[in-house]
Symmetry: C2
Subunit: 284 residues, 2 copies
Amino acid sequence: MEDRNAKGETLEEFLAKYDDSLYRHPSNTVDMILMTVIEGKLKLLLVKRKDHPFIHDWALPGGFINFDEDMETAVMRELQEETNITDQTYFRQLYTFGNADRDPRTRVITTCYLSMTPADNIRNTLAGDDAEETGWFTLEKTTLTADADGRDSVLTLSCGDIRISYSVFDRAKNNYIETRSELHPDSNAKLAADHIKAVNMAVDLLRSRAASTGILFNLLPEEVTLRQIQTAYEAVIGRPTDTGNFRRDIKKMLINTGHTAKAGNKYAALYRFNPMYSYLKENL
Amino acid sequence: MEDRNAKGETLEEFLAKYDDSLYRHPSNTVDMILMTVIEGKLKLLLVKRKDHPFIHDWALPGGFINFDEDMETAVMRELQEETNITDQTYFRQLYTFGNADRDPRTRVITTCYLSMTPADNIRNTLAGDDAEETGWFTLEKTTLTADADGRDSVLTLSCGDIRISYSVFDRAKNNYIETRSELHPDSNAKLAADHIKAVNMAVDLLRSRAASTGILFNLLPEEVTLRQIQTAYEAVIGRPTDTGNFRRDIKKMLINTGHTAKAGNKYAALYRFNPMYSYLKENL
DNA sequence: CTAATAGTGTCTGTTAGACACTATCTA
DNA sequence: TAGATAGTGTCTAACAGACACTATTAG
């Protein structure tokens, strides 16, 4: 490397003088949204915080990134530390939340990841170090009104007696969507920090891809009946859909395994996702 | 706040003891992808770096986030400092790049934003403090092969004699898309760090929304002819499209202003985007 | 008249929503 | 035979791709 900068320094000389301790730096964290489908319901994993800040609130599993640790490694490590879960079938970055005042400790910039797993992968979820308790919360988002201007929805997380409900307002502003949310009064618990925003984005992302990609199959076992797929689909999009049409369309991305499973008093054919379709439209 | 943690501390006590200097923190930066359409070509703003690292490479405008500055504020400030541009009509977060080894100075986590502006907003782009030179690069992405497995494309940035070209390989891996890229040998310059990944994501995002949303209109003047829209659309998606079909479909989201503009030896009607459609499908 | 641009019309195959229907098995 | 589940068929309106066509005006 021959190039020198305005001070006549080579890259090596420049780096030798470089000192990042001159400025105060934000802390970086990662959060994980882990979803699955249990008994036909869309579920989200939350942990109850046992320390400040947001003590006793429910939070997405996550934590600080080590200085020389890749972000993906960090989020997997934190998930394991807090919940003992190690396998996901789907994994992608969702959004980075970095408002200057979002954490009372210091400036915290959080990158949130979205992941999914079939329910049979998560038999033994335990609370780990930083979590008081973990819970698989049923996740429902119902759209109350929708027009050209925006949408008003209610997003509800429930687990046993715990009920966390937010009103979510999406409004079109100068070429982007502004989302505002507030805790609904019939809640008896709440989410930490701005985690509701991440959950809401995850639901919207999942919904927008549920019909046109194979994303749903990350939530389901390897071999599934058409009814299981449809139930999961309906849990995701939050409304019923026509059985005939759904079957007609979904079969295009399925392979019949030849196996059957007893369902009610009848046998249902078992299908698996045709990996031919895994690339399809999956790109943003 | 009465709640105390395991050490019996209130939130105030906890915060008083909290010391973020015990650990070394990553540095956080923001980068901006700013696009426009000039003479029917999709353009991207790049600045030539005048200091280490990546000296003399072309880079996205951006820089360090101040400790107590919102990320959006930071990216607007950096854009103004480096290019004197202050107005965008479209603005959203794109992705956060945080691999542990992506910058030789220290650990750097970069959040990249995508923005657009009509060409008439950017008459006087100047190189600012940290940039040697700025340039509006014509951006083209051509897909060479595409199948269920993935896509091979070439992404080319050119500005005058400068030609920066990358081969981009998208491959379906375990339910997500892995993108790899390498500098094409007929390039005579290159992009700094991993900026090609961000540019590639931006193109894909723009393409995926170009037909179904009004995103294109962020690149165009207020009043446009159908031909201008079609040309911009073709520049974005990288291939020609049928004029009759395009007009039939795009008119659904337009309002005829009644004005006309001379085009060739004929007058063309001027339309504007119907803001009724601004919310439509814009959510991820 | 030609070239360059704007702008329209029509055919056809595919897709998506609504809805009525049959099949199998247990109790 | 009732009830619960699986699974199919059909009509129709909307949409999308291919392509042939007309209109206006400077030079």
